[in-house]
Symmetry: C2
Subunit: 668 residues, 2 copies
Amino acid sequence: MSSFVESAKRVIIGRPIRSKAAARQLLPKRLALPIYASDALSSVAYAPDEILLTLALAGSIALIKSVWIGVVVACVLAVVVLSYRQTVHAYPSGGGDYEVVTTNLGPSWGLLVASALLVDYVLTVAVSISSGANYITTIVPHLRGSEVPIAVGLIVFLTLVNLRGTREAGTAFAIPTYTYMFAIALMVIVGFIRLFTGHLPMAASAAYEIQASNAHVDGLVGLGGVFLLMRAFSSGCAALTGVEAISNGVPNFRRPKSKNAGITLLLLGSIAATMMISILVLARRTGVQMVDDTSKVFLNGTPHPEVHFAPVIGQLASTIFGDGSVLFILVTAVTGFILVLAANTAFNGFPTLASVLSRDSFLPRQLYKRGDRLSYSNGIMVLAVGASALVILFDASVTRLIQLYVVGVFVSFTLSQLGMIRHWNKRLRLPQNGGERGKVLRSRSINIVGFMMTGFVLTIVLVTKFTHGAWITVVMIALVFGIQRLIRRHYDTIRGQLRIDDWHARRALPTRVRALVLVSNLSKPSMRAIATARVQSPTNLEIVSVVADLDEEEHIRREWDESGLPVPLTLISSPFRDVTQIVKSYVRARRLRSPGEMLVIYIPEFLVRHWWENLLHNQMALRLSRSLLRIPGVVVTIVPWKLGEEAEVEGRQSVNDPFKRREAKERA
Amino acid sequence: MSSFVESAKRVIIGRPIRSKAAARQLLPKRLALPIYASDALSSVAYAPDEILLTLALAGSIALIKSVWIGVVVACVLAVVVLSYRQTVHAYPSGGGDYEVVTTNLGPSWGLLVASALLVDYVLTVAVSISSGANYITTIVPHLRGSEVPIAVGLIVFLTLVNLRGTREAGTAFAIPTYTYMFAIALMVIVGFIRLFTGHLPMAASAAYEIQASNAHVDGLVGLGGVFLLMRAFSSGCAALTGVEAISNGVPNFRRPKSKNAGITLLLLGSIAATMMISILVLARRTGVQMVDDTSKVFLNGTPHPEVHFAPVIGQLASTIFGDGSVLFILVTAVTGFILVLAANTAFNGFPTLASVLSRDSFLPRQLYKRGDRLSYSNGIMVLAVGASALVILFDASVTRLIQLYVVGVFVSFTLSQLGMIRHWNKRLRLPQNGGERGKVLRSRSINIVGFMMTGFVLTIVLVTKFTHGAWITVVMIALVFGIQRLIRRHYDTIRGQLRIDDWHARRALPTRVRALVLVSNLSKPSMRAIATARVQSPTNLEIVSVVADLDEEEHIRREWDESGLPVPLTLISSPFRDVTQIVKSYVRARRLRSPGEMLVIYIPEFLVRHWWENLLHNQMALRLSRSLLRIPGVVVTIVPWKLGEEAEVEGRQSVNDPFKRREAKERA
């Protein structure tokens, strides 16, 4: 890496951190909660919106069902949180669902879970960031229409923060997450006080009438109505993502890791459920409305297609605190901010999971190691690129992205619960005392309930969203799964080929070595290459030069005569002026004539001091060596010559060069 | 080069041609004329237009001077042709003006001429192609507005044709050039017959009235008028470019080269002069008008700013043969076609000149050699890129580009004539008989007239066009000149550094060799690298491995114990996980400890079969070797291992590998 790139990296990313320091980067609960909870908590910034939006397809009247949908989502959340507490205690190593499923259902199912989670992490970033951009344009309406560049810019920002490392990210994210919780709590409390004292006003959007779309003119009755309710529920389930992040992140917690992680999980679940239900209740009581297709919006009987409804939290804040008030701006701004930070959960989870998969040879090696700052740099980059692509493709629209969402995380939930059931079954087969057995039985029943619940939700999500976009997620998961299988097969093949079973044979040496020195003339770099070849005492040695015409031939012959070198010179004439091809044929021929010999090819290389100097030289050496290396039985030695090196060395007095020292002696 | 790129190249460019075949690619006069004349002849497709356009700045009335300007241009052309016949005979080697000036006025003036010509070649392509695009949109008005993409597309096409080689280009270009000459001759003859029989109608544009621009309301009187006449003359001088191309191309002619080139030059001059004057006379008689600023165009007193005038030849053809007639389309189409092919002169001249300059170390080496097909591939590419840039920057506008044109070629003309005068002066100092002396004196007087004439024209061109764009050309020539001086200095410095003055010292060998084998584990590729190092019997040998943690350390120690290798193992722990930096420090330390030793570093490299497999491996070897080579006194040997190689070799029976053969023996 050039020194400029290197310095720029240091300024942006920070100085490298030692591997041993990894142990010190552990998170206390007060930092772990904001890092891992931001995803789940922030989803109340868009999950209620999507519930209302979906219900509004059956007209304003359908919104009465919104609170009940919220309650059902909260129930599912409670079950999932309880189920995952089991996982956190049973598998504290941070493999999370991947480890649970691999251990209990086998590696193929484990890989499926991992693929689903990888896809869902990318979607988490895309959805959260898009929603965040939406809040930013609520505060600054001037920016409306620039959501895509805003979102991509935010992803780049998050990438840089995360490349700096986990601990600093934690500190940076704790304050806004707590501010967010406080702001929403304040809004909810003030809202309920005003509700019970009878001073709660109606929201601005309550005045509008939303007509049912053509597909749902009958409202919520019949099969269509049930389907719509289920779709609204599916979108609401976005609030559940992020729960699994804690089970993947157990090793990042302070000791006792499992216990701390379990407590954080419970906290997270309660806060998220409370927030969502409170917001839905207040939205209902203030008559907040949301709509996707504005052509269905009427005011006193006349259509208002140019209407724009702010996100639910924004509408509530302006209703409860007054439009444009300081508290309205605080709530909206901090919500937008928290959404951006929510994507950070995925920036923790994705690279960690990718590293585990890389360790198991399902993903390229480059994803395995931590970067300079102990974060998994390559994984962070992959996530950033994937999420940016989704944001651009789906125009930063939360409503369109939410159709793809949640599938992956529920695949993971369901299989993970099944794995846990197997895990307890295995435990039950071991001898243990009564008390312990009772605990295991209780744990198993929690996971059985969890399995049935999440499996049922997964079915609902797939059925109601498949044609609206979930099929894309299914295809993505299948692709990620398939590619990982292929990568694993590749690594397995290589491992088999490289393993040594006969050390004796491998220690054997070739008996004869032929050295070829490729030169274009006998300048100082060439003479150094020839000296290097001679000092290694090969069985045979020849100087080889490609000449284009008689002039060149005579020139090098004259130089060779002058040089007095005790080494034969072979000249190859090149009618096609292509040096690489002709050298390759010559080397191939040499190999065929004496297949028992090892062939070492010495190539002098001219190293320039500035990149632009490369434009002034035919840099044959590198290309030629890459090409010759592909001939079996050939080894290539590059003998460098740095421009200006001799002048430098001579100037510096201390002749730190074996060639120069020797020359000095010879001269003396 | 990958085999796909290679095959694609074969299909587009053709099979490689032997160097010796160069002699066979010589041109008979009937092919040389179209190749070298297309530039000069095609310029009558825009030179008259620019004369009329410039005069029209003083209003319609000023157009009466157009024929006289044409006659003056023809006179200058005659003088230049006669002067260059001297050059062709005196310097048949094809160095052209560059050689003439370098030999007689010294290398700095020669380099100035070369810089001017290089710039002018690029402008020739840009102007001709832009004008060609203009003719194309005359026939297909639908395409109007897409001149830039059309022009760039044509440059790409020409590049491919020229990469295929000179001879085929000649054949492909002869037919259209002759068709063009025939078509213009037919138009002129029919035009004059109709003129003398009194049946010549007026052109459509004759009906319009062009008002003088604000700067020239007084018409052609006074200093402003003289200045405008001189500017029109300067633009008309575009007809003279291309004459020097023949003097640069003498070696491409059949024997007797000089004589054939001289005859071709005379033919070219006569045809170009005849064409231009005929067209200007007919344009005058049919009242053809051209205008740049359409806001000055009036019809019966009302402004017609939306008017569009076709090029002069297009207008003449439609007047003489009838608008939309077959002959009108033939003349316009073939003119457009010939303009495109005219750029081909530069595609011959530029790379040849660049190759000569490269030989003299003024341009990078890469421009020196011929490509696969005996054309100078790199030079062709540089020209294509430069011309495309100009076309894009100047929006394919001939009127804007013509302001930059002609400067370079007249710098070259003037200095070349001065050089020729010196040449004859030197000859006069040698003893010779009276007849010869008379010939030399006659030649010298031709060149003296040529020098004065071209010098005067250069002054007019610079004065009248400087602020309109010629200053850009002056800057470009100065830059090209300066860059070439720097390149030459760079090559001279290196040549000095590499030259060997003491062969004895250069034959000296280092006394001790230390070998380091860098491995990450002891797999088959590593064992091969170790064997390669051992067989070269270094003074010291060690295996070096970088380990990130204790697990890795134990693993490699166990392998090493198992291997039974009689070579010490050095482990370096890497707290920062950065292998390259740590290896570099280790090697630097080793070099400092024993500066008298040569250090050979062996690196096993894993070669994959498909490019995408690179994504699955940390390709450290290449990066590491590039980095280590920069340490003084270090030599790097790459020991390759091709994935699947062993399986292949074993399958093929003939064990064509020194390692395998030896192993087989050891096992037996």
